[in-house]
Protein backbone atom coordinates (compact mmCIF):
# COMPACT_ATOMS: atom_id res chain seq x y z
CA UNK A 1 0.00 0.00 0.00
CA UNK A 2 1.19 3.49 -0.80
CA UNK A 3 0.47 4.47 2.82
CA UNK A 4 3.17 2.07 3.96
CA UNK A 5 5.90 3.17 1.58
CA UNK A 6 7.93 6.19 2.57
CA UNK A 7 9.26 8.85 0.24
CA UNK A 8 12.82 8.05 1.29
CA UNK A 9 12.39 4.43 0.13
CA UNK A 10 11.50 5.43 -3.42
CA UNK A 11 13.03 8.86 -4.02
CA UNK A 12 15.99 9.22 -6.34
CA UNK A 13 18.92 10.26 -4.24
CA UNK A 14 20.86 13.15 -5.68
CA UNK A 15 19.12 15.88 -7.62
CA UNK A 16 20.08 17.09 -11.06
CA UNK A 17 20.35 20.85 -10.86
CA UNK A 18 21.10 23.84 -13.05
CA UNK A 19 22.28 27.30 -12.15
CA UNK A 20 20.25 30.47 -12.37
CA UNK A 21 22.60 31.79 -15.07
CA UNK A 22 22.18 28.81 -17.43
CA UNK A 23 20.10 29.37 -20.55
CA UNK A 24 16.98 27.45 -21.55
CA UNK A 25 18.68 25.46 -24.34
CA UNK A 26 21.18 24.24 -21.71
CA UNK A 27 18.23 23.14 -19.58
CA UNK A 28 16.57 21.39 -22.56
CA UNK A 29 19.81 19.44 -23.08
CA UNK A 30 19.86 18.36 -19.42
CA UNK A 31 16.17 17.35 -19.49
CA UNK A 32 16.60 15.44 -22.75
CA UNK A 33 19.81 13.69 -21.67
CA UNK A 34 18.35 12.51 -18.36
CA UNK A 35 14.80 11.98 -19.73
CA UNK A 36 13.23 14.13 -17.01
CA UNK A 37 10.65 16.90 -17.00
CA UNK A 38 12.18 19.38 -14.61
CA UNK A 39 15.26 20.24 -12.59
CA UNK A 40 16.08 22.10 -9.42
CA UNK A 41 17.71 25.50 -9.65
CA UNK A 42 20.43 26.22 -7.10
CA UNK A 43 22.21 29.41 -6.11
CA UNK A 44 25.96 29.82 -5.62
CA UNK A 45 25.67 28.15 -2.20
CA UNK A 46 23.97 25.07 -3.67
CA UNK A 47 20.71 26.08 -2.01
CA UNK A 48 17.51 25.12 -3.83
CA UNK A 49 15.95 28.35 -5.07
CA UNK A 50 13.53 27.23 -7.72
CA UNK A 51 12.50 24.70 -10.28
CA UNK A 52 12.46 24.89 -14.04
CA UNK A 53 10.44 22.49 -16.12
CA UNK A 54 9.89 21.55 -19.74
CA UNK A 55 6.65 23.55 -19.57
CA UNK A 56 8.57 26.75 -18.77
CA UNK A 57 10.76 26.12 -21.83
CA UNK A 58 7.92 25.55 -24.31
CA UNK A 59 6.08 28.60 -22.94
CA UNK A 60 9.10 30.77 -23.72
CA UNK A 61 9.59 29.02 -27.07
CA UNK A 62 5.98 29.59 -28.10
CA UNK A 63 6.42 33.31 -27.43
CA UNK A 64 9.34 33.49 -29.85
CA UNK A 65 11.91 34.15 -27.11
CA UNK A 66 15.54 33.40 -28.03
CA UNK A 67 16.12 30.41 -25.75
CA UNK A 68 19.91 30.70 -25.91
CA UNK A 69 19.67 34.15 -24.36
CA UNK A 70 16.90 33.28 -21.90
CA UNK A 71 18.33 32.77 -18.42
CA UNK A 72 16.88 30.26 -16.00
CA UNK A 73 16.40 32.86 -13.25
CA UNK A 74 13.93 34.76 -15.45
CA UNK A 75 11.74 31.73 -16.19
CA UNK A 76 11.98 29.43 -13.16
CA UNK A 77 9.23 28.96 -10.61
CA UNK A 78 10.63 30.14 -7.27
CA UNK A 79 10.07 28.34 -3.96
CA UNK A 80 9.75 24.70 -5.02
CA UNK A 81 7.31 22.49 -3.18
CA UNK A 82 9.16 20.05 -0.94
CA UNK A 83 8.19 16.99 1.06
CA UNK A 84 9.65 15.34 4.14
CA UNK A 85 11.42 12.08 3.33
CA UNK A 86 9.49 10.29 6.11
CA UNK A 87 6.08 11.07 4.56
CA UNK A 88 4.22 8.30 2.73
CA UNK A 89 3.85 7.93 -1.03
CA UNK A 90 0.13 8.49 -0.60
CA UNK A 91 0.88 11.88 1.00
CA UNK A 92 3.23 12.63 -1.92
CA UNK A 93 0.59 11.66 -4.51
CA UNK A 94 -2.06 13.82 -2.81
CA UNK A 95 0.30 16.77 -2.58
CA UNK A 96 1.25 16.44 -6.25
CA UNK A 97 -2.39 16.22 -7.27
CA UNK A 98 -3.52 19.19 -5.16
CA UNK A 99 -0.61 21.35 -6.32
CA UNK A 100 -0.79 20.19 -9.95
CA UNK A 101 2.83 18.98 -9.83
CA UNK A 102 4.75 15.98 -11.12
CA UNK A 103 7.77 16.25 -8.84
CA UNK A 104 8.56 17.05 -5.23
CA UNK A 105 11.98 17.78 -3.80
CA UNK A 106 13.40 16.49 -0.55
CA UNK A 107 15.75 19.01 1.04
CA UNK A 108 18.06 19.12 4.04
CA UNK A 109 18.78 22.30 5.90
CA UNK A 110 22.49 22.90 6.37
CA UNK A 111 24.33 25.65 8.13
CA UNK A 112 26.72 27.54 5.86
CA UNK A 113 29.40 30.13 6.36
CA UNK A 114 27.48 33.19 5.33
CA UNK A 115 28.64 35.21 2.36
CA UNK A 116 26.17 37.77 3.59
CA UNK A 117 24.60 38.28 7.00
CA UNK A 118 21.21 37.13 5.73
CA UNK A 119 22.21 33.67 4.46
CA UNK A 120 23.02 31.29 7.29
CA UNK A 121 21.43 28.16 5.96
CA UNK A 122 21.11 26.45 2.66
CA UNK A 123 18.39 24.06 1.57
CA UNK A 124 20.42 21.34 -0.07
CA UNK A 125 18.34 19.22 -2.48
CA UNK A 126 19.01 15.59 -1.56
CA UNK A 127 16.26 13.72 -3.37
CA UNK A 128 13.39 13.94 -5.79
CA UNK A 129 10.19 11.97 -6.17
CA UNK A 130 8.10 12.10 -9.33
CA UNK A 131 4.66 10.99 -10.45
CA UNK A 132 6.47 8.34 -12.52
CA UNK A 133 7.94 6.83 -9.33
CA UNK A 134 4.43 6.65 -7.89
CA UNK A 135 2.97 5.00 -11.01
CA UNK A 136 5.74 2.37 -10.92
CA UNK A 137 5.27 1.72 -7.20
CA UNK A 138 1.50 1.56 -7.58
CA UNK A 139 1.75 -0.95 -10.41
CA UNK A 140 3.69 -3.23 -8.08
CA UNK A 141 1.67 -2.78 -4.91
CA UNK A 142 -1.61 -1.39 -3.61
Amino acid sequence: MLKDVKVKDVMKVGVITVSMEDNLVDVAKVLSKHRINGVGVVDENGSLEGVISDRDIIRAFSKGINLKKAKVKEFMAPIPITIDKDKSLEDAAKLMYSEGLHRLFVVEQEEIKPKSLSAKYRFKPVGIITSRDIVVELSRSC
Binding site: L2, V25, R59, S62
Partner: protein
Amino acid sequence: MKLKAKDLMKEPIKVHAEATLAEILEIMEKRHVSSVLVIDKGKPLGVISETDILREIARGCDKTRIAKEVATKSLIAVEEETDIIEICKIMDKWNIRRVFVEKNGEIVGIVKLSDIIKEIAKL
Protein backbone atom coordinates in the same frame (compact mmCIF):
# COMPACT_ATOMS: atom_id res chain seq x y z
CA MET B 1 12.52 25.41 -36.51
CA LYS B 2 10.00 24.35 -39.13
CA LEU B 3 8.93 21.01 -37.73
CA LYS B 4 5.32 19.93 -37.96
CA ALA B 5 3.20 17.48 -36.01
CA LYS B 6 3.81 14.77 -38.62
CA ASP B 7 7.60 15.11 -38.08
CA LEU B 8 7.34 14.79 -34.30
CA MET B 9 4.55 12.30 -33.78
CA LYS B 10 4.79 8.71 -32.63
CA GLU B 11 2.20 5.99 -32.42
CA PRO B 12 0.14 6.26 -29.21
CA ILE B 13 -0.14 3.31 -26.84
CA LYS B 14 -3.79 2.23 -26.78
CA VAL B 15 -5.87 0.45 -24.15
CA HIS B 16 -9.39 -0.89 -24.30
CA ALA B 17 -12.12 1.00 -22.44
CA GLU B 18 -12.72 -2.04 -20.21
CA ALA B 19 -9.04 -2.46 -19.18
CA THR B 20 -8.58 -2.26 -15.42
CA LEU B 21 -6.40 0.30 -13.69
CA ALA B 22 -4.07 -2.56 -12.68
CA GLU B 23 -3.60 -3.50 -16.35
CA ILE B 24 -3.11 0.11 -17.38
CA LEU B 25 -0.47 0.69 -14.69
CA GLU B 26 1.41 -2.37 -15.88
CA ILE B 27 1.36 -1.14 -19.48
CA MET B 28 2.52 2.35 -18.44
CA GLU B 29 5.41 0.87 -16.50
CA LYS B 30 6.48 -1.73 -19.07
CA ARG B 31 6.15 0.53 -22.11
CA HIS B 32 7.73 3.50 -20.31
CA VAL B 33 4.89 5.85 -21.20
CA SER B 34 3.20 8.54 -19.17
CA SER B 35 -0.17 8.21 -20.91
CA VAL B 36 -2.38 5.82 -22.83
CA LEU B 37 -5.13 6.42 -25.35
CA VAL B 38 -8.43 4.77 -24.39
CA ILE B 39 -10.34 3.15 -27.25
CA ASP B 40 -14.03 2.30 -26.99
CA LYS B 41 -15.78 0.43 -29.81
CA GLY B 42 -12.96 1.30 -32.17
CA LYS B 43 -13.09 5.02 -31.42
CA PRO B 44 -10.93 7.16 -29.13
CA LEU B 45 -12.73 7.84 -25.86
CA GLY B 46 -10.12 9.72 -23.85
CA VAL B 47 -6.66 9.66 -22.36
CA ILE B 48 -5.23 8.41 -19.08
CA SER B 49 -2.15 10.27 -17.88
CA GLU B 50 -0.13 10.27 -14.68
CA THR B 51 -2.33 13.15 -13.49
CA ASP B 52 -5.36 10.84 -13.75
CA ILE B 53 -3.47 8.19 -11.76
CA LEU B 54 -2.65 10.73 -9.00
CA ARG B 55 -6.33 11.65 -8.88
CA GLU B 56 -7.26 7.99 -8.50
CA ILE B 57 -4.86 7.65 -5.57
CA ALA B 58 -6.27 10.82 -3.97
CA ARG B 59 -9.82 9.39 -4.16
CA GLY B 60 -8.78 6.00 -2.77
CA CYS B 61 -6.81 3.41 -4.63
CA ASP B 62 -9.06 0.96 -6.49
CA LYS B 63 -7.19 -0.91 -9.20
CA THR B 64 -10.35 -2.65 -10.39
CA ARG B 65 -11.69 0.59 -11.84
CA ILE B 66 -11.73 0.50 -15.62
CA ALA B 67 -10.26 2.77 -18.26
CA LYS B 68 -13.50 4.45 -19.28
CA GLU B 69 -14.11 5.46 -15.63
CA VAL B 70 -10.60 6.80 -15.12
CA ALA B 71 -9.97 8.51 -18.46
CA THR B 72 -10.10 12.22 -19.08
CA LYS B 73 -12.68 12.29 -21.83
CA SER B 74 -11.43 15.22 -23.80
CA LEU B 75 -8.77 14.75 -26.41
CA ILE B 76 -6.91 17.71 -27.73
CA ALA B 77 -5.84 16.98 -31.27
CA VAL B 78 -4.00 18.84 -33.99
CA GLU B 79 -3.56 18.17 -37.68
CA GLU B 80 -0.45 16.67 -39.25
CA GLU B 81 0.53 20.03 -40.70
CA THR B 82 0.30 21.95 -37.39
CA ASP B 83 3.70 23.51 -36.68
CA ILE B 84 5.77 23.07 -33.53
CA ILE B 85 5.17 26.63 -32.23
CA GLU B 86 1.41 26.19 -32.49
CA ILE B 87 1.67 22.86 -30.65
CA CYS B 88 3.65 24.56 -27.85
CA LYS B 89 0.98 27.27 -27.59
CA ILE B 90 -1.75 24.63 -27.29
CA MET B 91 0.18 22.68 -24.64
CA ASP B 92 0.79 25.86 -22.66
CA LYS B 93 -2.79 27.11 -22.97
CA TRP B 94 -4.37 23.81 -21.90
CA ASN B 95 -1.62 22.85 -19.46
CA ILE B 96 -1.10 19.49 -21.15
CA ARG B 97 1.94 17.38 -21.91
CA ARG B 98 0.75 15.78 -25.15
CA VAL B 99 -1.46 16.40 -28.14
CA PHE B 100 -2.90 13.81 -30.45
CA VAL B 101 -2.61 14.05 -34.20
CA GLU B 102 -5.76 13.58 -36.23
CA LYS B 103 -6.20 12.70 -39.89
CA ASN B 104 -9.61 12.22 -41.47
CA GLY B 105 -11.21 11.85 -38.03
CA GLU B 106 -8.74 9.15 -36.92
CA ILE B 107 -6.02 9.51 -34.28
CA VAL B 108 -2.79 8.73 -36.13
CA GLY B 109 -0.16 9.94 -33.67
CA ILE B 110 0.84 11.62 -30.45
CA VAL B 111 3.28 14.49 -29.93
CA LYS B 112 4.72 14.65 -26.43
CA LEU B 113 6.27 17.60 -24.71
CA SER B 114 9.46 15.57 -24.29
CA ASP B 115 9.72 15.16 -28.08
CA ILE B 116 9.67 18.94 -28.45
CA ILE B 117 12.30 19.38 -25.71
CA LYS B 118 14.55 16.95 -27.65
CA GLU B 119 14.31 19.23 -30.69
CA ILE B 120 14.97 22.37 -28.63
CA ALA B 121 18.06 20.67 -27.16
CA LYS B 122 19.48 20.52 -30.70
CA LEU B 123 19.36 24.32 -31.12
